[in-house]
Symmetry: C2
């Protein structure tokens, strides 16, 4: 009863030709007689034949699959990045295998291993764990988003330092003196570290005290408890900035009169859900596009075209929180 999926050989048999001929029709390669081609198409139609891409991949030694490793899709920045990566790859005939590392080193390692076994043609790595040595030794085409992986792996990022300067300067220009920065977890090798450096550099340059909190469950409450007179907060991403806003309103601060807040990322969803938030917007779409380009260049051996460090510029989006 359980009838097998039709294979190329079944098509060949029904059309009365050889496997070779069917393969030629399928791939439009070499010489093919018109009536033969027609017969083959007919046979495919009647059998509802779908070529087995796995068998094909095995032979041609290419899968047209790209691995995407990110901490999570459940975050406006990554969600948008992944969306555009998928779109761009799809347009070029590549499929994407999605891996959520969840910020865990062991998961990232396991995924990396899995992707290699699955013979992916390349990887876009956007997770931020430290100390994964596989990146060093693999010969696989890789592009990294916002993290140094190995000497030969190109990195795509936005200009985090400039973004940090932009954000801090804005708060200073608006008259803030007492400015605090909130950073993501520092054990992750995130680009946020550059944003922080910019903040600290410019505060130093202006002779002002600087203070950086590392985000945790209680960070935001602690910050307000310990610094009731804070005038400006630069959060290293929009989610943190939003939580700051929420807490500030709960405590009766008027924003932007008493307190100014600026975030970072400026993903589409954030801009819709929090249009009033001032933020530094990363060019997510352009970053995705460039990453795809760089990966394809590696896959197709155009290694000469590849610049190792690619930094795209950010943009200030002024809302009503500054």
């Amino acid at each position: 009863m359980e009838l097998r999926k039709p294979k190329l050989e079944d098509v060949a048999k029904l059309a009365g030709v050889s496997r070779t001929t069917v393969s030629r029709v399928l791939n439009n390669r070499g010489y093919i007689g018109d009536k033969t081609r027609e017969k083959v198409y007919q046979a495919m139609e009647t059998l509802d034949y779908h070529p087995n891409e796995i068998a094909r991949s095995l032979f041609i030694n290419k899968t047209n699959i790209i691995g995407l490793i990110f901490p999570t899709t459940n975050n406006p920045f990554y969600a948008q990045m992944i969306y555009h990566l998928e779109n761009n790859f799809e347009a070029l005939g590549y499929k994407v295998l999605l891996c959520n590392s969840g910020g865990r080193v062991d998961k990232e390692r396991a995924y990396l291993d899995m992707l290699q076994r699955h013979q992916v043609d390349g990887i876009v790595a956007g997770a931020h764990n430290r100390g994964i040595e596989i990146y060093e030794k693999t010969k696989l085409p890789i592009v990294s988003i916002d993290r140094y992986l190995a000497p030969h792996v190109p990195v795509v990022s936005s200009d985090n330092y400039a973004g940090g300067i932009l954000a801090t300067s804005l708060l200073l220009d608006k008259g803030c003196q007492h400015i605090i920065h909130i950073n993501g977890p520092i054990d992750l090798e995130t680009p946020a570290n550059l944003r922080r450096k910019a903040y600290e550099d410019i505060m130093k340059k202006n002779g002002l005290p600087y203070l950086t909190y590392e985000i945790s469950e209680t960070t935001i409450r602690d910050l307000f408890d310990q610094n009731p007179h804070v005038e400006g907060i630069f959060a290293s991403d929009d989610l943190i900035a939003t939580q700051v806003l929420t807490e500030a309103r709960k405590r009766g601060y008027r924003v932007p009169e008493d307190l100014k807040v600026i975030g970072y990322d400026g993903a589409d969803m954030t801009c819709i859900l929090r249009p009033e938030l001032t933020t530094i917007q990363q060019p997510i779409d352009a970053m995705a596009e460039l990453s795809v380009q760089l990966l394809i260049d590696q896959i197709e051996q155009r290694t000469d075209q590849i610049t190792l460090h690619n930094s795209l510029s950010v943009k200030l989006i002024e809302g009503q929180t500054t």
Copy 2:
């Protein structure tokens, strides 16, 4: 110079055993002598051998890959759904191929075809296009999120009708008489239609006029232009609700005094970014988990365990917009 990836045969040769033996070590199957196993592990180590999953898949006729078809990852609801789907599948040893249909029928068709060619073990379909006949004829295990696909395809959804009742009732209870509903695009076969039906039913039952707008570029402005005295708005998702809030504030409405707004979905990101929004929360995590369960049941032929219609209950999250 360009040295080939080591294959099973290379390992066998180096270890001085047969391919069969190496395969046995690899899969922990059958009898294996201890010293032999050790030799094989050694050889794998020195060669940095990674088994070729493609070749394996071809033989065992299983890929352990699941196709995910959704309109986009760049939306809090889908982003969270995809995140949990991926996590649950990963825990069971499955990988996911991500497909963004972008709401286009032709893309969904193309993806479906691609997934079949790639021999995926199953599909979770969360896109909402009409008239895709492939779902009717394919023998592939499928689970649909929130859409009827074919008689034999199980559907996972939340109780949209109850959600619509809940939302509309709340507005009524809070004293609204003039309540308007905003729906997504009606040419998509979305569950929003049930939410709308609930809204219209209950308004009728209360002898009140009802009015549904279909979302477009200008819908929200039109709505306010044409109904300046609107007291309550029930939006079919949180993004629309947020845009309503933004426009309302721009026009000077006080929320919730002059106007009450309720959304739908209640995704984690939305709750962080818009904590004040009242919404109907779908049990996204549970929906994902159940979908995975239903798909695996099909893949492993436990067809008796499968209920065709699975509706999970929703929850009212009261914020400050009502």
